[in-house]
Symmetry: D3
């Protein structure tokens, strides 16, 4: 059973799995070498020390490895640290990712099913076949199911990309019929594929960070390449349709300064951009409020990227309402 | 019966109502004074000349007056102009505004009824009463029904403000339930009231232009004052609720540089901003495409405010689709 | 008598009033609960600890309360801290605000008298009556007299708003006659009222921070509402005059990006903006130099908001001047 | 006696001085060569034609020459043009600059006297001597007296630089004592010298344009060089004082984007920047309103550089004021 | 033989090839339909009219067709126009592109040979093979040889892309060895391929304009796709090398706001960006000076995109140099 | 012999020269006063303490002095500190600058010779004489040889200015002949002189910081003054040539926002700007990579000024290359 870091107390005996985030060696005043580790799991991080069998243990695992360790929690200079008596590397297969990283709240397979369901509404045979190729690509699906949508701003948890993609596709369906003349098939397909490249842009097996490809090319280009790969398998896919679809992917950030090499030039691209931006922003704020707002506070701390404070939605509940009124806050339909 | 300017041909005898946009005098080579007019109606503009009884006629009407005139269309230097034999001022009541300005396509009273209908969903008694006060205010309704939403960019026709307000409120209802924790009453009320000040910002009886108040204070401030006026009639209206509602109105442009003195700080304000911006942009592009795109062209001309070209939606129709496919373009639900 | 924090030395016995800025509890190694406080007054801040009667004391006061406490200053890890033996909450009336916050140097009542005096020069009866209504409003005056002008940048002390308002009005009077055609009454009235909303934007009884209203609406809107409230009591106040006055208030920040929803469109508004900006900037720099420059240094530290260094005025004194010269630094006239 | 272009009527016989702005040749249908001129004076411009003695006349003057000509005004295609029968070049000494360019309204020598008078208040002997060197430099004074202050924005008339310099120096004197610790001598000297380089930046003998030096180096650098030249003649001028003075000149535009290579770093430099900017802006608006506003209009046309409309000050006069009130518009003190 | 438009004179009989830029119909006063054409070639444009056999001729060609026509140049309202008696469509193969569009001055095949020669210096076998694939692709070469490098700014003539590519590759070779540690193979390959996508972005057979693909995707993406296509034919091409190469292509505009979705992150990418920008800018200015500067002028007209004036290089020649000096202006090495 | 700080170990006895960066006094628990010093040399910084003869020692040296001290390295709270038993001030002449500051890798005199050699290529006698005056000015050369090129970004070491100047001049020579019509003499001269003012802008005898002059005027202006000083000694130096040369110096930052009061307006100025910017950027990145990248990392840390990460050039070496290939990384030619 997992010992979560934020539940460990002084003198607890520990026998559990952790991820080694940092690993270095030190020398005691008496001249002995020891190992200093930083251990993390989903709940937090703590220091670890290996005082014995240092030479043997140091070869048996590396930074960024998952390890199984045994030891005891002791207090040192007002902080808890783990005196480790045994440690060994374990394979990734042996661990539960959700023990180590935050996960989306909704069930991942359920979300994927919903998305595939929605994709059945696409009637254009070319687009429909294109989506089908993705749903049949298991290695793709494995990565698509757990990728986060972003490192910093929104849906920053395993399954976040899927959650955001599903949410955006639902929004697209809600809004596309509001205006005449938008092509629903194109918009739905683009909603599903718009952030595809993030499965290659971010590495998230050991920690959330950018891959080399991610930093050098970015998810927009990486996504276009994945789409291009599939289209190449569909020999009759119309060139114009491919161009329009890629335009929606390229332009969905809306502006040059946000990394889109093209601004939206069709109504579908305009709508995709607004809905994507709205979904990312609202999820980002909600996540920020959930994590960062102190109990009872009416205001969030300063959000560095958005460069502002947010008023906590809950504060609204405290507005005096006469008895005969029931305030109505809609839940997810 | 109205003679529309774009249907007048050489030698037509005219007996109809026009709006005088410019009025000046000239002198013929033989030294006689004549009047030069620019006449407009919904369909275009043309030159007019008064050669006789100049002194009498010149006193009987002014620039920006509606006039009833008789005359004959003649050709001068490759252009048609109207030689006027009789002209007299008519009261605004005598004309049909829709003869002179573009009108929303949908029936105005019907749109107003839909909006009032939607406002009944607001359950918070304070907000509900506030909206009620507006629906009972006939002078307000008169102006609200015909105001355009903007001089340049979107919904630039009589009834445009109402059309945009209705559209935004529908969008708000479609989207508010997609996220947990948003207050639907606040969002709907703010959607209905968000551009209220435009009835004072724009003058549109004779031509679309800004009023003095509009230029010096702007529709955001003017709208807040109208809301404040009504709230003052509701003695128990909670201060916090009033602050939140006004915050949504103040911040709906989203950024300082777009004239909002505050950026959105609540989830409702964030959503209102995105949906308002999306509705304005999509309507603006559609209107631009409708008016400015040449038959058969795949591209719009350059749009000066948006600083870009748009790809014409219709071009999409020309993508080759196999026979067994029916491309689906959703109509308004 | 007040013990000022920056004068407390090790082993001093303390019996004085403080403001509790932070309050939390800890556990000693032996398992006893104690209280950790951060105490502040005008001169600085220090840590406090309550080791005994913790349960009783903890209920008797809260964070942000003024307290009367007794204790002894001891040294812990190179810092002084107060071991508190007695603590109790006191009412705000019992304290001197100037013991806790920086105050304007000039006498507040004297500054208010000067301002009222200057307002007598306004000859337009509408504007004159409007100002009179403010001078008769005691609750307003109470707040207006002690409000700071800003949290960060300039006049950040009690009475700072009044000092800035007086300074700006003097500048306006000095400069208005320099150009032909400016309306002195309008400019003076706007100078006096321009930052009015700051009495509602900032809360400054316990600490300088923004009120909810302040953050959600901002001082420009709050000021306009206060002016509107008074104008409503003056039934014949001309609409155009009210619009022009409100335009000066709205536009005094000069640019959208500085939070003004309108840019100055009249000569009076242009002048008000420049003089206000100059007064805020010069006071801001002077305050910064006074507080942050080290003795003997010719340069200030880096000013984060202005993003630059300032050359210390005093350095000028060190320029070699021949004996027969008297350098002339003008004092306040 | 000068025939002003805007007073010439059909069939007038002309015998007067003009400036040749454009000169080219054409060929009549019958194959004869003629000369086409554009003639200007202070009041406007008109076309001129030379049909006879073309060969002789064409050698006797050039574009940008002042000429004495005789001819007759005839009407051609609805415009007046001058049929020229005699033309000859005249020296610049023979013309009155004020016949050809707009001039400052105030007497130039009187303004110069005022400025010199004010410079006597400078007590620092170094700065005082520096100013004295300029007042003794006749070639400098000749140019300084007639230079305009700008090609586009403000004080765009002969004597405009002097008028702006005088105005700024008066403003500096009015405001410098308002704050403690500013050095009045430094501020006054910098006010007088701040735009010095404009006498070299703009060429304004024949038309207002930039000189090569003006475009390649700019008036800030050119001004610093002129000041440096004089300082070199004052062997004991303190280095620090020279650095501070040059800093005020360098930074008076206030921001990099307005062409200042340094931002103001002393209180004197901050004040100089604000007052200079205010004076330029207010003069620029007043000039624009004077020239561009149509009789009776409450709004100016769109100002391209300031990117806005201005409300016409005169409109203020139309606000209804009760009988017993005398509105007070201050005249120049 | 071609009749160039700028050499046609009144009454000339014309029998030559032109490009039809505009085509519309009009009605004469007598009610007859005629055709109005705008004809262009390399040297300019002129109006054409077809008065007879209108129905037959109108079907025989379209706007944007090359035509062979016969007719006579007549004068109408001060302009020349062509009265056309015979017109017929010709195939593109029948015309000389250089009769219709400006061409690079240097011989195109010679430039291509130089470029291929330089590409032989690439030693890395993957990159070498990649370049080889392009040199073997005749349809690619056909387009690559005549494409312009830009519609507006620089190398805006047939062969311009090749000229710019050659120039940049030469610059890269000159500079790459100046710093240690840059990879010359990567830099040379990227220089050759950097603007590849322009052969698809611009259409330049009939007129210089953007293709649909060009506007919707842009040359950066189109170029990456062409490179990707070739790399797919090289099964062992290393992934990292492909990523680095594509990064150089993606980032060569240097900044988001100039349409690069990534900024340069390697030394080779940084150098490529600077040299590309310098070459485009210098060529752009030289072209602008060549075309737009009036004989004898020391200054160019205002350049709208660069937002400035340029000083004409030739002016330098006029600097007085003592006799014994030979000014040295280097020619192309 | 110098004891370098980064080589000092616990219990070492020290007898060496250091620079005193900070100096303050403290009080021990037993009430004795002691001195706290921060000592630096080229290799790092460490704490020092003086426990005895405090009063005498404290008078014998100041902050920013070079000192000779004796003492012993002891460990205190996990850090080494120096217990000083003797300390005395030494003159600057007694130290080796390269013991205290980072130095350029290449030999300084050798670099200067190369630069002078290159300057001989200037054929224009005016420019050649101008350069000669600088090479004859020993006090100038002393400063020019050791000045760094910048405090933060690039060439931030003694000799850095010379290294950057030499590098830029080499680049200029490599590139100037690539385009027709550029004046090589002007470009070379400007390359050599472009950053001249940095010898006055930065003070670098004791620490790298800005001088008063540097902050108030900046190196562009200071450089122009030095050039002006020399030109004044050359009575026949043509005015136009001087203006062009100064234009290149003024505009070499390329944009207003980077502190250039003029943008480049000649081809030479455009090239100088690009090459200067490229050289500074590439050197800045290389220095950053050399110092900040951890062993084995493929990515640099975040660069705050450039606001991005860099990919480590070395990573390129790890790309798999087939055996028969020799990757070619060019060394300095």
């Amino acid at each position: 059973m997992k010992n979560y870091i934020n539940e460990i107390k002084e003198n607890d005996l520990i026998d559990s799995l952790f991820l080694v985030k940092e690993k270095s060696s030190g020398v005691t005043k008496t001249g002995n070498v020891y190992l200093k580790l930083k251990l993390i799991d989903r709940s937090g991080e703590m220091e670890g020390r290996i005082w014995t069998s240092v030479e043997a243990f140091t070869k048996s695992f590396d930074k960024d490895d998952f390890v199984h360790l045994k030891g005891k929690a002791v207090s040192f200079q007002e902080h808890l640290q783990l005196n480790i008596t045994h440690i060994e590397r374990v394979e990734e297969e042996a661990i539960l990712l959700s023990d180590f990283f935050p996960m989306a709240e909704r069930d991942i397979d359920e979300m994927l099913q919903s998305l595939i369901e929605m994709s059945r509404q696409v009637e254009n045979p070319h687009l429909s076949q294109l989506l089908h190729l993705f749903w049949e690509d298991s290695p793709f699906l494995e990565r698509f199911k757990i990728a986060p949508a972003s490192k910093w701003l929104h849906h920053t948890y395993l399954g976040g990309l899927l959650e955001h993609t599903l949410s955006l596709t639902q929004l697209a369906l809600k809004n596309v019929g509001h205006y005449k003349g938008l092509n629903v098939d194109l918009l739905i397909t683009a909603s599903i594929l718009h952030d595809l490249g993030k499965i290659d842009e971010l590495s998230y097996q050991r920690s959330f960070d950018y891959s080399d490809e991610g930093r050098l090319l970015g998810h927009i280009i990486l996504g276009i390449e994945r789409v291009e790969d599939k289209i190449r398998q569909l020999p009759n896919f119309p060139k114009d349709l491919s161009t329009l679809l890629k335009h929606l992917l390229l332009s969905h950030h809306g502006q040059y300064s946000w990394g889109s090499p093209k601004r939206p030039m069709t109504l579908e691209a305009v709508m995709l951009h607004y809905l994507d931006d709205m979904d990312a922003k609202i999820n980002g704020i909600q996540q920020f409020l959930r994590i960062e707002v102190e109990e009872g506070s009416r205001w969030s701390p300063y959000h560095r990227t958005f460069e502002q404070f947010f008023y906590v939605a809950g504060a609204w509940d405290q507005i005096e309402v006469p008895e005969n009124i029931v305030k109505k806050v809609l839940e997810e339909e």
